[in-house]
């Protein structure tokens, strides 16, 4: 099975404090560290497990610039056979549809049985997977948390729905799936692994290589981010102050009033 995983490099939000920059038009990026979007990492691990069972190769691609190469190398250290950087000045400012258009061109120049994306990214719209599928006329499923390869070019997949229930579907290949975190336990990749693939070439494909049809780039984008701003605080919570003892007393009073205490 030839599997493509579309990945994205994002700021690491777990301990990073995302704040507005001084000018107020973007987030403060100076001290941020970046890594692969977590659901995309789960997608790569899932792809690797599928090819370990069913044979084939995993390709990881990202639309971006030089800085984004590092995530490709990390996923190749994890076991992906190919990494592809899709980069061109013409692509900058693309909205989700633009990125899907670019990826469509890449997919059409290759043969993939299965295309995976992460369900969403911190700074994006949970859309590229679904859009790409529609453009390619491939069936699509989102929030996938289990994949079983069946005979005859089909997959049995489970989607995460409310209440922890699982929606079981059968889907024909080739298809596009967006992967939810927790589908597996990704293997560890460290500096040594990355050093071992340090010299493997990562091709960069531009607009001309792909022959992108359709409008891409900032000018064609129908959805554009205009600015960042601090979320309005609104009423917000009544913050209790004082010593811990005092806070506890106040809280107990409130709980009694609201029926939280017997």
């Amino acid at each position: 099975m030839e599997i493509l995983v579309c990945a994205r490099r994002v700021p690491d939000t777990s301990e990073n404090e995302i704040e507005l920059n001084a000018a107020g038009n973007d987030i403060e990026r100076d001290d941020l560290v970046y890594s692969i979007n977590e659901p995309d990492n789960y997608a790569v691990e899932e792809a690797l497990q599928i090819v370990e069972r069913a044979g084939g190769n995993v390709t990881v691609a990202t639309v971006g610039g030089e800085d984004d190469e590092e995530i490709l190398r990390r996923e190749m250290a994890m076991g992906a056979k190919n990494g592809v950087l899709i980069s061109d000045d013409a692509f900058s400012g693309s909205d989700g549809k633009g990125i899907a258009t670019i990826l469509k061109a890449f997919v059409e120049k290759n043969h993939f049985d299965l295309i995976l994306t992460g369900v969403q990214a911190e700074d994006a719209g949970a859309q590229v997977g679904g859009m790409l599928a529609a453009m390619l006329d491939y069936p699509f499923a989102s929030l996938v948390n289990a994949i079983e390869v069946l005979d005859g070019g089909k997959l049995k997949i489970s989607r995460e729905i409310e209440g922890g229930n699982k929606e079981m579907n059968e889907i024909d290949l080739p298809c596009v799936l967006s992967i939810q975190t927790g589908i597996n336990e990704p293997r560890y990749v460290g500096m040594r692994g990355i050093r071992q693939v340090a010299s493997v070439p990562i091709p960069t494909l531009g607009a001309a290589d792909l022959g992108v049809e359709g409008a891409v780039g900032g000018a064609a984008a129908k959805v554009k981010r205009v600015d960042y701003f601090a979320p309005p605080l609104g009423k917000g919570a009544e913050m209790l102050g004082g010593s811990r003892e005092e806070i506890i007393d106040k809280l107990i009073e409130m709980l009694k009033a609201k029926g939280g205490l017997k």
């Binding site: 690491d12 777990s14 301990e15 990073n16 404090e17 001290d31 560290v33 890594s35 994890m78 336990e185 990704p186 293997r187 560890y188 990749v189 460290g190 500096m191 040594r192 692994g193 050093r195 071992q196």
Partner: protein, 708 residues
């Protein structure tokens, strides 16, 4: 048979002349043994190299101490005494065995032995030796069958009990002693009956007792006994010789070597591959131990040398709390694997992966590297290097538990396992009240400072533990130390990154720290973190000498530069908990105790498990992130030990011990009954100051119980 009490070589055994019989027997025995040992050496030939031929005199000294001197044995009084007696007996009996065996093949009938007086004296000593060994066999068997010490038990998941094998061996040795004694006794009895000169038998020795029983036996019976005992002795001797390499008794032969080649430089971890410098490690295809052949020859020798005594597991904290790790079985499983895959009869079959085979991932991740096992083993078997090598193998294959992946990624991108920003590493010095009375310099490469206070990650970033940092800084200030911290350019020491098998990341952190330390121009390093202390002292090269704050305080107190006020509450009872990386790994036991004893009115008790028998708090560094399967937390067990000792305050000198103790106190529901305090915090609280007492900052320190 001719009644002969001369040399069995002259006698006839079932129509075979004794001499020929024994020559053949001896030859077969030795040849068999040589063949078996040769086969046992094969895996060692295929093993990884290990550089153990340095410092021959030091190594010889350790052989004298640990092998001949049986240094570790008395730690378990009963078993230790029995073993010392057996060992001494065997040493004494070597010569006797040689004499007895050569009698069977010699052409003369005279009993070989030492000449004259020496022979006499030796005769007495060896008789008692045999008797003592024989008695020890009985005592040992009774212990095994009746008293059943817990550490010999084999949990069902590891297979059947080893009792049958143990009794069999004890029986064989007893037979050996008895046969020799009977051989001697029957001749002496015959000599008495025949009116010849009776050789002197030591009173109440085994031969003496046998002779007393045989005085009236008819000569033909004595002759049969004489020749029969000799044959049995011979057979038993060579059977044992050839049987030993098939089980735990192989340690009789290999112990000398396992002790000679034992690791000299405790505290650090073996390199990924001996002889391959860091710069060339990228070319090494596979890191760590994945198959049996990836172990070094010394590690394989360790597997052979284990005597299955169970002392390691008896002291292993992971084992005590029900984690899937038992060091004894790490060794015996590997030994059994080796015997199966490299059989004496048959050809070797190559390595299957160890993880997922004889070992489970959780088993190997459960170790906190506390070193209790290594401190206990009488054969100096090494464990930490093996566990680290197995972890290196798993890391290389990407098999790292998810709970550890997050801190490892954070260490890689931010230099600390919490993922917090580098620029906030020195924020702890800016705590408002603290900053007013103590300013801490951040070194910036200007090379004008003598001493570096290496803070390390937990003290820099953890809200509670920052108090230890501040207390340490205040102590250093008060003694007029010209010190500073590295601030944002300090990275995690990497101590536990290394011990969790991520060697590459460790090297990156180490190299960054070494560069920053060199740039600072300091001449010495002080730290309050025993893991950082151990790393800087043993894992790092080319850095200035490092001390732990307890050593600094002890010195300053003795010099009178730090004076300590009496305790507020005379009813508090303090127990000092030895952190593994300060105590056991670096032998700093007395300095913290001296400091505590210098506080007037402070009542201190020792827990049963203290010093090198201290019980690990649960582990530090990455161990705090790992989620083990266990019945209980190590910290909770340790807090219970403090309660048993009669203490209500645990003093420790390690930030990780502090986290684990305070956690344990909460989980065990002991808040109000037990507090934990760091040595630096305690000293800072009790320090006599120049300034008036109102400026003492008490808000952030845990109040002594008397105030609650």
């Amino acid at each position: 048979m001719i009644e002969t009490f001369g040399s069995p070589s002259q006698a006839t055994y079932w129509f075979i002349q004794g001499r020929i019989l024994f020559l053949v027997l001896h030859f077969l025995g030795v040849a068999c043994f040589a063949y078996i040992v040769a086969k046992r050496m094969i895996p060692l030939m295929r093993a990884e190299r290990d550089f153990r031929f340095d410092h021959p005199w030091t190594r010889l000294g350790r052989v004298l101490q640990f092998w001949l001197g049986q240094w570790r044995h008395p730690r378990y009084r009963t078993a230790g005494t029995i073993h010392i007696l057996i060992f001494a007996g065997f040493i004494v009996l070597v010569m006797r065995a040689f004499f007895v065996l050569s009698l069977g093949t010699s052409s003369s009938s005279a009993m070989p032995g030492l000449p004259g007086r020496a022979g006499h004296i030796y005769g007495i000593i060896q008789a008692y030796a045999a008797t003592v060994v024989f008695l020890c066999m009985i005592v040992a068997a009774v212990r095994r069958l009746v008293f059943k010490p817990a550490r010999y038990a084999v949990p069902s998941r590891y297979g059947k009990a080893h009792t049958a094998d143990a009794i069999f061996l004890l029986g064989l040795i007893a037979i050996l002693m008895a046969a020799d004694s009977l051989f001697e006794a029957s001749r002496a009895a015959a000599q008495a009956q025949q009116g010849r000169e009776v050789e002197f038998l030591a009173v109440l020795s085994l031969p003496w007792i046998f002779k007393a029983a045989l005085t009236a036996a008819p000569l033909p019976v004595l002759s049969t006994l004489y020749l029969g005992a000799y044959l049995i002795h011979d057979l038993a001797f060579f059977f044992l010789l050839c049987y030993r390499p098939f089980g735990i008794q192989f340690h009789v032969e290999t112990s000398l070597f396992s002790i000679y080649f034992a690791k000299l430089n405790r505290g650090t971890i073996k390199p990924v591959r001996w002889g391959v410098p860091d710069a060339q490690l990228d070319q090494v295809k596979s890191f760590g131990v994945k198959t049996f052949e990836d172990f070094t020859w010394k590690h394989m020798l360790d597997f052979y040398s284990c005597a299955d005594c169970g002392r390691c597991s008896d002291n292993c904290p992971a084992n005590a709390v029900g984690r899937p790790l038992s060091p004894r079985f790490i060794t015996t499983k590997a030994r059994d694997y080796c015997f199966t895959h490299y059989p004496v009869l048959g050809s070797a079959n190559n390595g299957t992966p160890l993880i997922g085979g004889i070992y489970s991932e959780d088993e190997i991740w459960s170790c906190t590297t506390c070193g209790a096992c290594e401190a206990e083993c009488p054969l100096l078997v090494e464990y930490i290097d093996k566990i680290v090598d197995l972890r290196r193998g798993m890391v290389d294959d990407g098999k790292v538990p998810q709970s550890l992946q997050k801190p490892l990624k954070a260490l890689e991108s931010r230099g600390n396992p919490y993922g917090k920003m580098e620029k906030k590493r020195a924020e702890w010095v800016k705590a408002k009240e603290f900053q007013q009375t103590c300013s801490v310099k951040v070194l910036n490469g200007k090379q004008d400072t003598d001493t570096l206070y290496f803070v390390d990650s937990i003290t820099s970033y953890d809200d509670r533990i920052q108090a230890i940092g501040r207390a340490t800084a205040k102590i250093l200030s008060s003694t007029g130390e010209n010190f500073g911290i590295l601030g944002a350019s300090e990275k995690d020491s990497g101590h536990d990154v290394r011990r969790f098998g991520e060697e590459t990341l460790f090297m990156a952190l180490r190299d960054q720290n070494v560069e920053a330390i060199k740039a600072s121009g300091v001449k010495r390093i002080v730290t309050a973190d025993p893991h950082a202390f151990n790393a800087l002292k043993h894992d790092y090269r080319d850095v200035p000498p490092v001390e732990h704050i307890s050593q600094v305080i002890a010195r300053e107190v003795k010099a009178g530069k730090i004076k300590l006020n009496p305790v507020e509450n005379e009813n508090d009872v303090y127990a000092y908990h030895d952190p593994c990386y300060l105590g056991r790994h670096n032998q700093v036991y007395d300095d913290p105790r001296d400091v505590l004893d210098a506080i007037p009115g402070l009542k201190r008790v020792e827990m049963t498990r203290s010093r090198d028998r201290s019980f690990c708090c649960g582990g530090g560094g990455l161990a705090l992130f790992y989620e083990p399967k266990e019945d209980q937390r190590m910290g909770v067990k340790r807090v219970q030990m403090a309660v048993e000792a009669g203490a209500n305050v645990i003093v420790t000198a390690c930030p990780f011990c502090m986290v684990n103790m305070e956690d344990a106190i909460k989980v065990a529901g002991m808040e109000g009954k037990m507090t934990a305090i760091d040595l630096a915090e305690l000293v800072e609280r009790q320090m006599v100051r120049e300034e008036p007492p109102e400026r003492r900052l008490q808000a952030e320190l845990p109040a002594p119980l008397g105030r609650l």
